[in-house]
Amino acid sequence: MSKLEDDDWLYTISSKRKLIDFNFKEIWNYRDLLVLFVKRDVVTVYKQTILGPLWYLIQPLFTALTFTLIFNKVANIETGTVPPFLFNLAGVSIWNYFNTCLTSTSDTFTTNSAIFGKVYFPRVIVPLSIIISNLLKFGIQLFIFIAFYVFYKFSGAAINLDSTVIFFPVLVILMGMMGLGLGMIISSLVTKYRDLKFLVSFGVQLLMYVSAVMYPLALIKEEMPKVSWIVEYNPLAYIIETARYMLLGTGTFSWFGIIYTVIVTVIVFLLGIIIFNRTEKTFIDTV
C-alpha cells in the first residue's frame, strides 16, 4: 500500500477524545432517525389507553386544580388580580416541560443500553428527540392554557398579555436547554453511580418548591427574606416568573434575572454536552 493512500481514511476509532466533539454533520445525517424517535415517543406512549392523548391535558389541569385548592384556598397565597387557577396552570405547564425533559433524558444511557450496546448512532439523538417530543406535548398543553385564558378574559378577569410575549419561545428554549443540559449531565453520571437516580426522582420535586411555580417571586422575598436567596439564585424561578409576566401581566420582570438565567443555562448546556460526549464512548463498559 502506498503512503499516499494512508491519508484517505474516512474516520478513525481510537481512545483519544476531544473536549467537545459535537459533530453537527453527523447529527444532520441522522435527522430521519431523530424524526422517527420523536414520532415513536409521541405515538406509543398512550397506546392501549382509552383516553389516549387526552392524558397530556388531564395531568396539568388536575395539578393546577390541586395547587389552587391547597395553596390559594387553604394557604391563602395571593396571586393579585390574576385568577389563581390560571396562575397555577401557567406555572405548572412550564414547569412540567422542564420536569419531563430532565427526568426522561436523565436515564438516556441506562434505558437504552440494550440498543446502544449493539449499534452506533450519535447518542445525542436520543435526548434531543425527548426534548422535541416533550415540546410537542407542551404545545398541546399551551392550547388548553389559551382556552382557559380566553374563558377568563371574557369573564372579565384583569389579565393582559404583555408585549414581551413575542419572546416567550426564547423562554421555552431556555427551559428546554436547561432540562437537556442537566439531563445529559445526570444521565452520564448515572451510568457509573446509580445514586443519582434516586436523587433525581425526589430532587426534582424539591426543586419545584424553590422555583416559584405556585407563588409569585415577590411573595417569598416579602414573607421569608432569610431563605429567599435559594429562589433568587434559581434560574428556573426567573424563567417561570418571566413567563407569567409575559402571559398574564403579573409579577416582575428583571433584566438581571434574564441575563443571569441565560448565562447559567448556557454553562449547564455546554457542560452537559462535554460530559455526555465523554461518556457516550465508554459507557457500555460500565453501565
Partner: protein
C-alpha cells in the same frame, strides 16, 4: 485490492467484579494522573483474559495488541472460543465502545448487525419498525422507501407487516430484523452470530443473501460465528483469537484447523480413574481421539476418517479379553457397538484402536461408552462424560456424502432411477 480497514495495536481493558464504592477512588486517581499529564495508573495492571484461572488483578485485557488489515470486498471470519474477545472486537469496530489503546482506521462506513431486533419497538407495526430500525442502522428514510418492498418480501412477513411487532413470534422478529440489515448498503458490514436463530429454511436464505452481499456486490463483511460450517462456506480468510490475543490470520481452512486443535486437552483426551477394586484384571486408563496420522482431534470435520484409541492396563494374565466401544446419540439412543476379537494377554499396557473410515457421521456430539470383558463376563464399563464431536466443518463433499441433510449419517445410499 486496496485496504479498507486497518486495526493497529487494539487493546481493551475491563474492570472485573462489581462496580461499587471502590470505583470512585480509582476514578479520582485516574483523573489526578490525567491532570498531572501522567499515564493512567491502571493501564499497567491487568492480566490476560483466561476465564478459568483466578485473576490476580482487578483489571483484565479483553483484547491485547490486535493488528490486522481488511481488503476491500473481503469476507473475513473471526473465530475463537468463548471469551476470546470476538464480540469486544466487533463492538469496537462498530463504534459501540472505544479501545483502551490503539487505532482503527477505515475508509468506509461501518454498519453492524449484532443480535438483531434490539431496535424494535413492540408497539409499532412491522412496517414502522422497518423504518425505525433502518434509521438506527444509518439509512435515510428515502433509502428505506426504495427498498421497503424488497425487505418485506425477503422477510416473508407480508401478512403481518401492519401488525404491532409485539404480536410477532420471535422467529418473525429475527426475519424482519435480518431483512432490514441485509438491505443496508454500508461499505463494511459487521455481523455477529445472527444466523444462529430462525428456522433452517431462513438460515439457508440468510446465508445465501450473505454470499450475494459479499460475492455479488463486492462489499466487505466481517463475520463472527461459532458455526464453523458457516464460516467455512462464507469466508475466504479468517482471524483466530485466543484469550484476547491474536493467534493467526490466514486461509479459512487452515485457521479452522488451528482452532480445532486448540481445545485438544479437553475434548480429545479423556483420562479415567484407576478402579478402587484391587483384584480387577484389566482396566481402561485413557481414551484419545485422533486422525489417521495420529494427531489429536477435538472435533472431527465431517467425512474425515478418525480413530478412537483406548489405552488399558492388564494386571493379571487374562484370556478372552474383549474391548468394546459403544456409540450413542446425546439422548442415549444406541447407534452401534464394536467389539474387538478376543485376546489372550500378559500383564502390561495396551492400546485398542477403533478406526472409522467408511461411515460418515453427521455433525453433532455423540457419547462414547467403553466396555472391557472376559468372554461374556463384564470387567469394566465406562459411560460417563466421554464424547466425540463431529464438527460442522466439511472435510470433503462429493456425491457420496451430503452434509446438509438430516440424520445421523451423511453417506448417501447407492441410488438409481430407471424407467419400468
Amino acid at each position: 485490492m486496496s485496504i479498507i480497514l486497518k486495526a493497529e495495536n487494539i487493546s481493551k481493558q475491563y474492570r472485573l467484579g462489581v462496580v461499587g464504592t471502590g470505583t470512585i477512588s480509582h476514578d479520582i486517581n485516574r483523573w489526578w494522573a490525567g491532570i498531572r499529564g501522567k499515564e493512567d495508573p491502571y493501564l499497567k495492571v491487568g492480566s490476560e483474559n483466561d476465564r478459568s484461572t483466578k485473576a490476580d488483578s482487578d483489571y483484565v485485557w479483553a483484547l491485547q495488541d490486535i493488528n490486522f488489515e481488511v481488503r476491500k470486498g473481503e469476507v473475513l471470519g473471526i473465530i475463537g472460543k468463548n471469551g476470546a474477545g470476538k464480540s469486544t472486537l466487533l463492538k469496537i469496530l462498530s463504534k459501540v465502545t472505544i479501545p483502551t489503546t490503539g487505532v482503527i482506521k477505515t475508509k468506509g462506513r461501518i454498519a453492524s448487525l449484532l443480535e438483531v431486533g434490539t431496535g424494535f419497538h413492540p408497539e409499532l407495526t412491522g412496517r414502522e419498525n422497518i423504518y425505525l430500525n433502518g434509521a438506527i442502522l444509518g439509512m435515510t428514510k428515502a433509502e428505506i422507501r426504495t427498498k421497503e418492498a424488497e425487505i418485506i418480501e425477503f422477510s416473508g412477513c407480508e401478512r403481518y407487516v401492519d401488525t404491532p411487532v409485539k404480536r410477532y413470534s420471535s422467529g418473525m422478529r429475527v426475519r424482519l430484523a435480518f431483512a432490514v440489515a441485509a438491505f443496508l448498503e454500508p461499505d463494511i458490514l459487521v455481523i455477529d452470530e445472527v444466523l444462529a436463530v430462525g428456522d433452517a429454511e431462513f438460515q439457508k436464505k440468510a446465508i445465501g443473501k450473505m454470499q450475494d452481499i459479499s460475492k455479488g456486490d463486492g462489499r466487505t463483511v466481517l463475520f463472527v460465528s461459532h458455526n464453523m460450517g458457516v464460516i467455512q462456506s462464507l469466508c475466504d480468510e479468517t482471524i483466530l483469537l485466543h484469550n484476547g490475543r491474536f493467534v493467526e490470520k490466514g486461509k479459512t481452512e487452515h485457521v479452522i484447523n488451528t482452532y480445532l486443535k486448540q481445545n485438544i486437552g479437553n475434548d480429545a483426551v479423556f483420562n479415567f480413574d484407576i478402579p478402587k477394586n484391587n483384584n480387577i484384571q484389566a482396566y481402561a486408563t485413557k481414551l484419545t481421539i485422533v486422525d489417521l496420522n495420529g494427531n489429536l482431534m477435538s472435533e472431527i470435520p465431517i467425512g474425515k476418517p478418525w480413530k478412537v484409541k483406548i489405552h488399558f492396563t492388564v494386571c493379571q494374565e487374562i484370556n478372552n479379553l474383549i474391548i468394546g466401544l459403544g456409540m450413542t446419540d446425546m439422548l442415549n439412543a444406541p447407534i452401534r457397538t464394536s467389539w474387538t476379537p478376543s485376546n489372550n494377554l500378559t500383564p502390561g499396557e495396551y492400546i485398542a484402536e477403533f478406526v472409522e473410515d467408511s461411515v460418515v457421521f453427521n455433525h453433532g456430539r455423540y457419547k462414547l461408552k467403553i466396555g472391557i470383558s472376559k468372554g461374556f463376563h463384564s470387567i469394566q464399563y465406562l459411560d460417563e462424560n466421554v464424547y466425540i464431536t463431529i464438527s460442522e466443518v466439511v472435510y470433503k463433499q462429493d456425491k457420496t456424502v451430503l452434509t446438509n441433510g438430516n440424520g445421523v449419517f451423511s453417506n448417501q445410499m447407492k441410488m438409481n432411477v430407471y424407467k419400468t
